[in-house]
Each structure stands twice: as structure tokens, then as C-alpha cells.
């Protein structure tokens, strides 16, 4: 089904400025939910779907809202991969890759190393009394943990971060900048080499990692498939835990009363995690392409239409979440959409929950005493496809 890259007849056309979306997409989303819950946005080249109910509906119909989007930059960057496949192909790859990310595996195989990694990073900065918790802690922690789960013992946290950044840039390279492509090609070649080496090692000696799990899958997976899928996981696997960590930590530092409660009752960290992911979702939207004519949000879309499921908007839908723009860990339980839904439900969800809410936050807030935001620091929240803090400057008492 070839992609239709124009507005569906009858779809409202809404001009949105990409720079403005990047700065703060939420006002635009609120307006879309109110006036045009399905709108063609020329600068994005897709129909944006922005209401909670409609997004959930689409997620539960993968046979109509297909993940196989033509002309996807992700396909160009990493090659065919499970994010851009539908079942049964998607299921085969997911079944091969998923076991090491299940919650019991996280607890039994990875938790100890995650904790060790977090302590090591905190040891490095503890005596300084000030740091950027994104660059000095959250990003290297996410990268080091990811290397462990993937089974890339031959790569350092810096490699993983660099690769991730190069691929994310390519993924958003709508301006077709040749330098960005070059850097991404170099990164993907490096990953291919690293994965090939570790796949060999895992063939001889299984180690419970994602690479090992794919090498030994019951339904066989080729080396290129392992390589491509590891690329995708590296692309996203650094951002999400890093961004949830940063946004949640900043939110708590701005709300000392909530922070006091959470520190006194560590059972609440789980709620902080889910509320942070709802409030500012690290992944804000993902693309789908229609396999058939289908009507949604009052608009009849022809087969081939490109749709973006804007989960960041669904997570602010006032009809589901009261005072949706507020960060409130006491809000009534309603499932948020930050992990996506249906067959593509985030494979890293259990890893991220553990590394951020069971380890990273509690350790940072217990080890760094009298933690404060640096006043006047330019800690920017940025992005709409992916959203998080670019830095988080803090100080603490060292004696």
C-alpha cells in the first residue's frame, strides 16, 4: 500500500510551526483536541490524531493502522526492524528479543549491575557538590545499563550514547543534511561490528542478554535482523529512561512537599514514574499508515493515509485526566499511553521502571544531601517527537 502524502478530503488542515512544537507542543495539542482531533499538518506530512479515545482505538487495530510506514526515515537509518513491522513478522522478532526485558529477568539478571552502575556514577560526582544530572548521570547510566541488557560487553557507555545520538539525528533528518547521514552510517557500521562479535560469543556461551536471546531464538533470526533491531533499541533505549529520570527529578525538586512524601514512603516512586511518563511523555508520537479506508475522529481517511498517534496529547486529554496539565502523583489511576499500546507496547517498560523508579531516583535523592536546582540555570525542556530536559543543573552539600 503506497503512502498517501496529502491531506484526506475533508480533513481539517492546520499549520503548525515545527520550532514552536519543539519548544512546547502542549498548547497546540490542546487546541487540536478541542477543534480538530484529526488534522492534516503540512509541516509534519501526516494527520495528527490527538484524543485519548481515538489513539487507544487506533492502537488496538494494528491491522488497519499499520506500522509499516513507507518512506520512513527510521527504515533508511537502520534497515528493516521490528518497530516498522506488523504481526506475524513483528511477533517473531519481538519473541526473540523480549525475554531479557521481562520483569523477573530485570530483577534477577540486571538489577544488581544497574545498582552498581548508578553508585559508580554517583561516586564520581559526589564530592563535587554540583553536576548536570542529565549529562553526568542519567545519560551515562541509561547507556551503561543498556549495554548490559543488550549484551554489548565490547562497547562503553560513551559509544552507546554517541551511536544513539547519531541515529536519533538521522531519524529526524527531514532536512536531508548529508553530514547527519554520514555520521549515522558510521554509527550503524560500528554497531554491526560490535553486535557480530557479541553474537559469536553468545553462540558459544549464552548470557541472558538480548543478543544472546536472539541468537538462540526458537524461531531463527538472521544476524542482519539482530543487528538492525539492536540499532533500533540503542536509538530509543537511552532517551526514554534518561528523559523520565530528568523530568521527574526536576518536578520533585520544584515541589519539596511531594519530594518529602516520596522520600518518606518509597512505595510512591512507582507513582512518580507513571505520572512523569504521562505528564511529559519521553516519546510523544509515532507514525502509522492505513491499510484500508477507515473513518476516525469524524474523518474518512483513504487507504495509505499517514497518521501520527500523538500519545503526548492523549496523555493530556482533559476528558480522561482532570487538570491534565498538572503533575500530580495523587491523581486517580487511569492508564496513560506513554508506553504505547497493542503489540508494540514498549519492550523496555519494565527495564525503565526498575532502573529509574527503583534505583536511580532513590539513590540520587538519598546520596546527594540537600539537593537543589541551580537558580537561573538554563535547563531546557525540548522536543515533541521525543521530549526531555537537555540538562538538569543541581547543587548539594558535600559535608
Amino acid at each position: 500500500m503506497s503512502a498517501v502524502t496529502t491531506a484526506a478530503p475533508g480533513a481539517p488542515v492546520v499549520d503548525l510551526d515545527l520550532a514552536e512544537l519543539r519548544r512546547d507542543p502542549y498548547p497546540a495539542y490542546a487546541e487540536l483536541r478541542r477543534t480538530a482531533p484529526l488534522a492534516w499538518v503540512p509541516s509534519v506530512g501526516r494527520h495528527l490524531l490527538t484524543r485519548y479515545e481515538d489513539i487507544v482505538h487506533a492502537e488496538k487495530l494494528p491491522e488497519v493502522f499499520s506500522s509499516r510506514e513507507e518512506g520512513s526515515l527510521l527504515l533508511r537509518t537502520v534497515g528493516p526492524n521490528l518497530l516498522r513491522e506488523d504481526d506475524p513478522e513483528h511477533r517473531r522478532l519481538r519473541a526473540a528479543a523480549e525475554p531479557p526485558t521481562r520483569p523477573r529477568q530485570v530483577r534477577d539478571l540486571w538489577a544488581e549491575t544497574f545498582e552498581h552502575n548508578a553508585h559508580e556514577l554517583l561516586d564520581r560526582i559526589a564530592g563535587r557538590g554540583e553536576a548536570d544530572l542529565i549529562g553526568d548521570f542519567a545519560e551515562p547510566l541509561a547507556a551503561a545499563n543498556l549495554a548490559v541488557v543488550l549484551g554489548l560487553r565490547n562497547a562503553g557507555a560513551d559509544d552507546i550514547s554517541d551511536w544513539s545520538r547519531a541515529m536519533m539525528a538521522a531519524n529526524g533528518n527531514y532536512a536531508d543534511d548529508p553530514d547527519i547521514w554520514l555520521r549515522a552510517e558510521q554509527a550503524t557500521r560500528d554497531i554491526e561490528d560490535a553486535v557480530a562479535e557479541m553474537a559469536d560469543a553468545a553462540r558459544r556461551e549464552p548470557d541472558g542478554s538480548v543478543i544472546s536471546s536472539m541468537v538462540h531464538a526458537a524461531d531463527p533470526v538472521e544476524l542482519t535482523e539482530i543487528q538492525n533491531n539492536i540499532k533500533v533499541i540503542i536509538g530509543g533505549g537511552v532517551n526514554e529512561p534518561r528523559d523520565v529520570f530528568g523530568v521527574g527529578a526536576q518536578a520533585l525538586l520544584q515541589r519539596p512537599d511531594v519530594l518529602d512524601r516520596v522520600v518518606a514512603d518509597p512505595g510512591l516512586w512507582k507513582r512518580v514514574f507513571e505520572e512523569t511518563a504521562r505528564w511529559i511523555s519521553p516519546i510523544g508520537m509515532y507514525p502509522r499508515q492505513l491499510t484500508q479506508d477507515y473513518e476516525i475522529a469524524g474523518v474518512a481517511l483513504p487507504a495509505g493515509s499517514r497518521v501520527a498517534l500523538v500519545i503526548a496529547s492523549g496523555n493530556r486529554d482533559e476528558s480522561v485526566f482532570e487538570r491534565a496539565d498538572e503533575f500530580d502523583i495523587d491523581r486517580p489511576h487511569r492508564p496513560h499511553l506513554a508506553f504505547g499500546g497493542g503489540p508494540h507496547f514498549c519492550m523496555g517498560a519494565w527495564v525503565a521502571r526498575h532502573e529509574v523508579s527503583a534505583l536511580a531516583w532513590p539513590l540520587v535523592f538519598s546520596r546527594l544531601k540537600v539537593l537543589r536546582l541551580v537558580e537561573g540555570a538554563d535547563d531546557l525542556m525540548e522536543g515533541w517527537v521525543f521530549r526531555g530536559l537537555t540538562s538538569l543543573n543541581v547543587t548539594w552539600q558535600t559535608s
Binding site: 507513571e274 496513560h336 508506553f339 503489540p343 507496547f345
Partner: protein, 107 residues
């Protein structure tokens, strides 16, 4: 077609007709039964379709499979001996009259 009964935490019951060959979660979701979230759409990845099978039907429904058993340790509401993920329970004519209880929380 078998009838299954979902009992909500407040004691109210929802009687739905389920298609043999599908799974219990599907019957709940397609009939809009509150309290079955089913984020992952039935792939045993999310643990948000948790139910307690009524004691009387425990044996008939049987024990969880391996992957399910692991996920059941991480449900939002406490795990009990009769806990199942409703997306892993096949509906069959033998389950006609099945009663399952929906826990307080799924996420």
C-alpha cells in the same frame, strides 16, 4: 456460545457472551468491561489484564503458562493463587458460566 461473568471490585456483575477460541480479555474489552486495561493487546507483556478466577472454577481454568507466571508477580494488585492474565485464558464451551473477579487496580 459460553457466557462469562466479570465481577467488578464493587460487587456488580457484567455478564457477557464470549466467542469460543478467543481469550477472556477479548470478551471483556469488546464488551467494554471496566477494569481490564490490556495495554499490550494480549501479548503477556503488560500485566494490565489481571483477573482472579472464582474458586469454583479454578481447576477448570488451570494454571498460568510460564511467561504469564512471571508477569503475575508484577501486577498492580496483589497476586493470589487464582490469579491469571485474562489474555492468556482461552474461552471454550467448557467455561460456560465462568466467574472471574476484577482486581482494584491494573496499573
Amino acid at each position: 456460545m459460553p457466557i462469562v461473568i466479570f465481577e467488578l471490585p464493587d460487587g456488580t456483575q457484567r455478564k457477557v457472551t464470549a466467542d469460543s477460541g478467543t481469550v477472556l480479555m477479548q470478551a471483556a474489552v469488546s464488551n467494554g468491561v471496566d477494569g481490564i486495561v490490556a495495554e499490550c493487546g494480549g501479548n503477556a507483556s503488560c500485566a494490565t489484564c489481571h483477573v482472579y478466577v472464582d474458586e469454583r472454577h479454578g481447576e477448570q481454568v488451570g494454571p498460568p503458562n510460564d511467561v504469564e507466571d512471571e508477569m503475575l508477580d508484577f501486577t498492580a494488585a496483589e497476586r493470589r493463587p487464582t490469579s491469571r492474565l485474562s489474555c492468556q485464558v482461552q474461552v471454550s464451551d467448557a467455561l460456560d458460566g465462568l466467574v472471574v473477579h476484577i482486581p482494584e487496580e491494573q496499573v
